[in-house]
């Protein structure tokens, strides 16, 4: 018997389009209308992209680390069941 193919589709395309539009608009406006300046390097044009990239990577690393260090399997809702 042949296995049924895994379901495909979902919202991935729409989400990619949404994020791409946000990023493209942001970068375009940031570089064309804002001159160099800002109180530090983080406030320069284009720095938002670096912050966004860093935040996404930190999200993934945090989730991985938390899963590895503090994660517990199982579906029960309590952190430490049996304790008051």
């Amino acid at each position: 018997m042949s296995k049924a193919p895994p379901p495909r589709g979902g919202i991935a395309g729409l989400v990619i389009l949404f994020c791409f539009t946000l990023a493209a608009l942001g970068l375009a406006f940031d570089f064309t209308t804002r001159g160099p300046g800002g109180f530090w390097v983080g406030a320069q044009p284009g720095a938002g992209a670096a912050i966004g990239l860093g935040a996404a990577v930190v999200c993934v690393i945090a989730a991985r680390l938390a899963q590895m260090l503090f994660g517990r399997g199982g579906e029960e809702g309590d952190d430490v069941s049996g304790h008051p």
Partner: protein, 565 residues
Amino acid sequence: MLAVTLNPGFVPILAGLLVLAAPRVARAPIMALAALTALWLLLDHEFGAASAMAQMGLPVVLLNLDALNRIFGIALLIALIFVAVYSGARRNRYEDAAILMLAGGAVSALFVGDLVSFVAAAALAGLSAAWTVFASPVEGANRAGVRLLIWHGLEGLLFLVGVALHITAGAASSVFARLDVTSMGGACIFAALLIRVGAPMAHVWLKDVVSHASAVGGAALSVFTSMLGVYALARLFPAEPLLVPIGAAMIVIGAIYAAAQDDLRRAGAYALTAQTGVCVALIGVGSPLALAAAEGHAFAAVLAFAALQMALGAVLVRTGDARLSGFTGLARAMPLTTLLMFVGGLAVAGAPGFALYATQTVALEATAQWELRGVWLLIAALSAMLFVSLALRPALVAYRVVAKPSAFNEAPFPMMLGTSLATFLSFAIGLAPRWLYDLMPAELAFQPFAIDRLAPQLEVLGVAGLAYLALHYTALAPKTLPWRTLDIDALYRGPAASAGRWAGVLLLRAYGAWQAGATRSGYAAGRLLGRVAKLCDQPFAPRGVANAAQLLSIGAILVIILVFR
């Protein structure tokens, strides 16, 4: 005279007593009517303090209205209207009463003008919060309620000690005014408020109670608990430098844990901790712009988190939990709720067009200084992290196509209506934030949609989304599995609780052994005395030591009588 002194928070408290006896159909309207009446009382008054009463030599100011407490009061009472609409879907009169008491306590605490009344109102809000958790049908709610009572007990104790020490300086010092954190009294009150806002180490109570509360309770607890602490910090400790690192730590802890949670209600609570951290850090910065940003941010956070927790609560009602790992195909079963959840995620992340964006831009402006660049960076990155954690992740899972889609099972209408109203108001204020800026205590001429403010936010969110999608589709992001993340409370609920239990057992054993030893010694001493008494009690014995002792005793007594008569 009544109109002058009636604190708007008293109305929900009275309504809370009323709903205990009201039929089901009348309870949600009573809640909404109480919120509207309180709002009317609030908006009808001029700024200023009502006449103070004197109790035990201390002034009791039941109403002191100004721009600072007005903005918080409007936020909480509007949120109470949404909660009232949302609560129409279920029957639980105790929870309705508890939520009204919670809202009433929090709103009363906002408007009182002296420390003793504030502590009393905050304690009422704390007890009602615990009652709200106890009224929840979610498994483990009772234990979570007990833990909340312990936290609030500690907070109340610190409040009382702080106030007692503070008013030793004189009765006039009990009036609400700026306190000094270096004094003993001020430090105790400061510590109590740090518990209330969920500062690091004390941040666990919020996620604990929100994740164990019912759908309605989770939304109410998100709205009416920690924001009272933000208000009190802004009132009592503005420009306190200690608050800047504390707020920054709250942002970091909240953002990281929100990214790591499978239970999205818990993730929402962590995200609230992070956004509360923004408010706390801004209060610590203390400039007029930063204080205005903190107050506006608290207002916007109340609406955004009410919307998110309501949407997640609707999922809880239909599916039994709000875990990301169980969201696969949710969009087919609950399309509107899923959409509201996604929009709620955007709202709490401060996406442009939502109220939190309008206040976050002010926060970024207020922290745009060299020495505050760390806080600025955290605030800028927070929206990206919350966008990924609470909007993108749930959307990717919920809209995943499954082979056997679940049957259509949308949330009850009142729940969707309450969630939609909260989302709509957050959106409306985000699009036209002038109304919110006018409510702020400081005069604020600010253009949040200026291109140099809008473009970086679009850039942050867009690039964060694209980067996360890239990591997700290359399988570098962790899979959505049913798992739990331990926090600092696991220490005192796990090893520390075990150690305490063992110490208790050892102490009980030692006490038992001491009691048994004392009993045995008592018996032995009693037997010995009995033998001695028996020896003495032989008046007709022919010989013996006892007889001689008896004669000697009588002789001694006679001699004493003869000598001293």
